[in-house]
Symmetry: C2
Subunit: 624 residues, 2 copies
């Protein structure tokens, strides 16, 4: 427990939850890491598709990133509106469910959950991948490194929201700061050199084009890949409740900060890549460098600044998983509250976070990392489809919301969300088509399966709820007194206390002896009349019966259970209370030295019994 206290921190009381609320400065690292880290791979993903065009590809990157930033802006305005409209947290699940119905909500939830899980595996894998390509010595340790990062992120999140913000602030702001500085220097150099800056370290020459012109298919694929830059934008809207008051402005400002920084980074990278003639390189070739590595080297050379910037990129990539850890448990909790997931997902643990969701996410992501041995390239095509599907459901939901609402600015708001829905919906379709053969088809199988699972769970809980719901007050009529049954093997203090309790409970007591040995049984009968019947008659109490059950096959449980079931059947309006005396075992060796008859009897009565068979356990503790 001491170690656990150190690792996770001391328990937090429920009334301390205000202290766990976040502001803009902590919200950015907690909720923004996924979105911001996209700047490190979004442009690269688009340029990688344009690789066959060689230098010509650079002409397309600015328009493609322009479109992506435009979609980002639309999504941004849409989510601002969502935050205002759903101050308790307007995740895609809530918005879609309330406006489009349960199935739409579950579709959005399934899509998001898949994306959150993938984000953890892919993010950690990308960060560790960047690290091992910088230090090839670590290559054999890829999977252990991934699991170490996963464990650290999991433990920090289990420590609570506040500690997460503190832990991740430094790398986040270092990442944002160094990249912004690099872009500023690059833009400045480009400007004073009339758009043709001299690179400090020239980027490797671009590949010779293998095709002369970009076809529509290539451009669509580049767009679809570049869209990964936008994942994580929904996180803030889902977590409005986590912000300190005033929650809505704080959430909006955090969203603004994340989107603005992301947009600047994307635009800057795209523009400077063109200016410095930087293209994607073939990852499988020796001397491979990422776009950002080439860019920072071209702008500022390979000095201390280069290494700080590149390190912060690696750390932020590895930690981008954190957005999932912030949002997945909240989403799971909403689903659990609506009975689509087990109730344990809705319980806040010792540090006021939804422990079960965090552990579940860590377990599934860890499993993916282990299965793919820490290299999750195969999972990337599956990624982002879920996020965009959730965006679309959410925007569409907001359109219906404004339509119903009909307030002052409803029309404008409806327009904004409508454009958002169309833009993100188009993006989903493009992504699905462009990446279908690469694996996006798997999402089409997984998302409905998850949806179905949620509905099955809900159906089960509804059924249980219906069965145990009490539609009336306490019913005190039609209840006969219980019949007490006490198994007895020999007269000792255990049996005595059981019998005494049974006599307090009812005047209808049967002691039951399963007879394996006739001599022993005769001894017991003598003991019974002397130790039980005599004192009972002296006190003028109703006499308990002693029932002897023959057991030719030397079994105990079976004849006893049959007797109890028969008694229950013969007395349809009464409860049969089996009073089981038990010698409590507190040391391991006692398990070897005693039979487990009491425990086995309790278990079999629970398994094979029914509502009118009650087990009363009278424990007996040994001294020392």
């Amino acid at each position: 427990m001491w170690l656990w206290d150190k690792l996770i921190g001391k328990p937090l009381a429920s009334y301390e939850s205000e202290g766990q609320k976040i502001g803009i400065w902590s919200g950015l690292p907690i909720l923004g890491l996924d979105g911001l880290s996209s700047a490190a791979y979004g442009p690269e993903a688009a340029l990688a598709i344009l690789l066959p065009l060689g230098g010509l590809g650079l002409n397309y990157i600015s328009p493609i990133m322009g479109i992506i930033i435009a979609v980002l802006a639309i999504v941004y305005f849409s989510y601002r509106q969502t935050i205002s409209a759903y101050p308790n947290g307007g995740g895609s699940y809530t918005v879609a469910r309330e406006n489009l119905g349960d199935n739409a909500g579950l579709l959005a939830a399934s899509a998001l959950m898949l994306d959150y899980i993938l984000n953890v595996a892919v993010g950690i894998s990308a960060g560790v991948g960047a690290l091992v390509s910088a230090i090839p010595l670590l290559l054999p340790y890829t999977l252990p490194l991934c699991l170490v990062v996963l464990t650290i992120v999991t433990l920090i999140n289990l420590r609570g929201v506040r500690d997460t913000g503190l832990a991740f602030a430094a790398p986040t702001y270092l990442f944002v700061g160094t990249l912004l500085i690099a872009i500023t220097i690059g833009l400045f150099k480009t400007l004073i050199n009339g758009g043709h800056p001299e690179a400090v370290i020239s980027p490797p020459p671009l590949q010779t084009p293998t095709i002369a012109m970009a076809g529509l298919w290539l451009l669509l694929r580049a767009f679809a890949s570049g869209c990964t830059a936008m994942t994580g934008v929904e996180a803030v809207s889902n977590a409005v409740g986590a912000f300190a008051p005033p929650a809505i402005p704080n959430a909006k400002r955090t969203l603004t900060a994340i989107v603005a920084i992301l947009a600047i980074l994307l635009a800057g990278v795209a523009y400077l890549a063109q200016a410095y003639h930087i293209g994607a390189m073939d990852e499988t070739q020796n001397g491979y460098q990422t776009i950002l590595s080439q860019l920072v080297a071209a702008v500022a050379g390979r000095g201390v600044f280069y290494y700080i910037t590149l390190s912060s990129i690696i750390v932020v990539l590895a930690l981008s998983a954190n957005t999932s850890f912030a949002d997945f448990p909240r989403l799971a909790r909403l689903l659990a509250n609506d009975h689509y997931l087990p109730q344990s997902f809705s319980l806040r643990g010792r540090r006021l976070v939804y422990t079960m969701g965090i552990l579940f996410l860590a377990a599934v992501a860890g499993l993916l990392l282990i299965v793919f041995r820490g290299i999750t390239d195969a999972l990337i095509p599956l990624f982002a489809v879920g996020a965009f599907l959730a965006f679309t459901m959410s925007q569409a939901g907001m359109v219906v919301h404004w339509h119903r609402d009909g307030g002052k600015h409803a029309t404008t708001s409806l327009m904004i969300n409508g454009v958002g829905a169309i833009a993100t919906g188009t993006a989903v379709i493009i992504m699905l088509i462009a990446k279908f053969a690469d694996g996006a088809w798997i999402t089409i199988l997984i998302i409905p399966s998850l949806l179905l699972l949620f509905k099955i769970i809900k159906h089960y809980y509804d059924d249980v709820g219906r069965q145990i719901r009490s539609t009336h007050g306490l019913d005190l009529a039609h209840v006969g007194p219980p019949i007490a049954v006490v198994p007895i093997d020999w007269w000792n203090v255990l049996n005595e206390s059981a019998l005494r309790f049974a006599l307090q409970l009812t005047s209808d007591v049967v002691a039951v002896h399963v007879m394996v040995d006739e001599e022993h049984c005769a001894d017991l009968q003598r003991s019974w009349s002397q130790n039980v019947i005599q004192p009972i008659q002296a006190s003028h109490l109703p006499e308990p019966k002693l029932a002897i059950l023959p057991s030719p096959y030397r079994l105990f449980q079976k004849p006893f259970l049959e007797y109890v079931l028969k008694l229950e059947k013969e007395n349809p309006n009464r409860i049969v209370a089996v009073v089981v005396p038990e010698l409590v075992q507190t040391h391991w060796y006692q398990y070897l030295l005693h039979n487990q008859r009491a425990a086995a009897l309790k278990e079999i009565l629970l398994r094979k019994g029914n509502r009118r068979i009650v087990v009363i356990n009278l424990p007996w503790y040994l001294d020392a």
Copy 2:
């Protein structure tokens, strides 16, 4: 269960035990395999020690075997007397304990148990060793073959005594028959050739002597090794109760048959070895043959008869373990009856055998086989010490018995057992000295450790027995009515049935709600007054209380347990009955979908509770 029925057989009722009793013909394979199979290794073990004498060694084998047969005869007459004196089974443990005291009995029991365990491992290992040396192809499978034999012997013994006799009769009688035939032919040939028979296949020439004369030390070691031929003789006296009536004559006749056959085999082998000039061969050399292999080949050539005889030797060696399986569980049962072992050793299983003893013996022997990879040569020096120690204790006990008895033939009987005690006691000392350095010293550690363990177990049971013994009849005074505590989370049929039962039990009922959520708690309070208090007041029953326990750290068990313990402390003369409603889970997936709160609560109340805290479990079963 179907497979188990096939493997073990259908359960036998206690009244069927007469049908499981054995006669002479089945007693010989069940109880005699250990003793009879000794003929295959006893003379060999003695001759192996005489190896350095070369051909000269043969001059000593007849006198040594003569002494061994004389000791065997003494032991035989002693055990005949034991059988008469202890018709319920006069194993060394019983005889030593009744006449020499508990410690002597336990010493005999410890020694015998060790020997029984070793006998299983060594016997199976010897049989499989003979098999793989005949078919070297099987050499890599030595351990698996040993474990297969162990499993077969275990399963047959679990099927019951009768089936064991049936299964082992054929190989036993084949072994006895073929060896007797071989010896008869050999003796006949020797006689008609004036003591110098012509071998059909000449045995390999004897080794050149490395020493010219046998010293006392060598002869003692040869005697000590040859004594292994006598192990297993005590088996019958231990199992008199297993014989069909008249039990004593049947047991005596079986003992006579075993000892007579063994004596003939030992004498015949020793005499013919000398006549045919057959000596032990170095086991580590190529072309190694056992004495019996050489003997049968010399007498009858290597035809069909040779292969049948040698096969039956292999089978009987492997099955010699069976004597341990017949006697170890009986001995363990006697110890368990006297509280020196857990009671489970005294229960008869579905086939009327002491299942626990059989399984325990199989497990320990299997472990030994696994640890020694199926080759138990290192264990052989430990072997037989235990058996002879037990013989000695038993004989000495009989001396005391006759001394006390003072009947008609008491003096003669005393003399016979006295000679037996001295002979076997001398043999123990010789064995210990001769084989001390080879490993016999280990027995001096193990036997007292076992004895100590038995005494510790007995001490524990005595302590428990003293604590739970009831020295008085049912005490009905000084008992206040119980207080019932019902945990309540929400008003549903589970809580309703729990509360109803609690109200039947006592007029002092407290429903306890652990408050994690204040709103939920307020709802519950409203529901309480409407669903419980109103009907209660209408019925003019005593009103149950609703206690609210705040839980700032969102824990359930801890505050609840503390409340119950406090209540118990405040009411020193009353029982606190905690009524736990439980949704019984009958499908595996329900364990994922429900919290295990009821089970956990029952467990924690049992662990941390005390004698005045009683758990009442009200189960609720879902339809379908």
